[in-house]
Symmetry: C2
Subunit: 212 residues, 2 copies
């Protein structure tokens, strides 16, 4: 079946939102932890996290252009620091609940029942319940002209990770850490590894490689 742009434009709003958000396939679901200049903590689920480069280690995320309050972006611009915290299965409902529109003075940590934890000399809160967390420093923002979405670019400062999830080749076993994935705007999924494949070269069939 071919759904073209005009079919999409004729869908009702929620239907189109579900549809278009499903198109990009499975996504990373992360809780973004921030603190305002006044010291209020904020926690919000994002699914628009993307790898931008390894050297320097850069991660991008997109925030919506809505005129409603965007506390996460405000806090990042105020303090320059934020955290990304992977979701595990047992955190799913609490993490999803952070997407409710709480006023800025309410901390989603308290509202949903997750625990802020800190590193020395790093202002932004990590989520204690997460198995993998990343501390980032803002390096750049870009505005997408087509819809005013903002790209936030951060440099990795800290990675909190159980040592047994890290392979000798640097690969992190996300399944062992219990990281889950999401699709659309509200669907959460566990994963099962199919294979890792060797570096591809012309005229050479890739072979499976072992995890550790």
């Amino acid at each position: 079946m071919n759904y073209n742009l005009s079919d999409l434009q004729q869908m009702e709003k929620l239907q189109r939102t579900n549809f278009v958000n499903s198109l990009t396939g499975f996504k990373s679901a992360c809780l973004v932890g921030t603190k305002s200049a006044l010291g209020n903590t904020n926690l919000a689920i994002f699914s628009s996290i993307v790898h931008l480069g390894s050297h320097p280690p850069l991660i991008g995320m997109f925030t919506r252009p809505d005129s409603v309050d965007r506390h996460t972006l405000e806090n990042i611009l105020e303090t320059g620091l934020y955290t990304l915290n992977h979701l595990t299965r047992s955190m799913t409902v609490k993490a999803h609940q952070t997407s409710a529109r709480y006023p800025r003075e309410v901390s989603e940590f308290e509202a949903v029942g997750l625990t802020p934890t800190y590193l020395e000399n790093f202002l932004a809160p990590f989520v204690e319940e997460s198995v993998i967390s990343i501390g980032l420093k803002l390096v750049e923002t870009q505005r997408i002209l087509a819809n005013n979405t903002i790209l936030v670019v951060g440099e990795v400062q800290h990675v909190l990770l159980p040592e047994h999830c890290l392979g000798s080749d640097g690969f992190i076993d996300l399944e062992l850490a219990g990281t889950i994935t999401c699709s659309g705007i509200d669907s959460y999924h566990a994963t099962e590894q199919l294979m890792r494949l060797s570096y591809a070269k012309p005229n050479l069939e890739p072979h499976r490689i072992d995890l550790h």
Copy 2:
């Protein structure tokens, strides 16, 4: 264990690449289909696909800044059209093999054994083996200053999709379509749905919602 920026900088190159590429969690793996102005087809696997907005329906992807040939980007800039094609389990090895550095005159479709297919009045090739495919029109590019990575923004023109994978609320059941996910630079994963959750509101516990 805390790995900080200086630990990352001291890793050897492949180790750091594996490590940092794992940090963003599970990702969408898509084959990007393009055609040059001269008519050569190209197919390349990308894992930096991201939803930018639903109205208009916009999808972003990042391409590397390397000085080596970037045929996909060249073709998109030449013709303004490209396709995203979801991976299924049986396509994994062929899709991974598209990342080998073939010369521009070689079509990865032929080199890896996937089949180009076309819609009327749409120049870019779709992958016949994919269950879900999207045809896009280039609307904007942005350069990330921090590492010269290019963000390509496209507007959805066509979505090819089996009707039975589409729910009445617009949600696309990616698992039913067999779409897989990836992590790091070389790991592929199947998924198993845990739950869908209702729209979050303050002081109201989200409840599970059914698929159809």
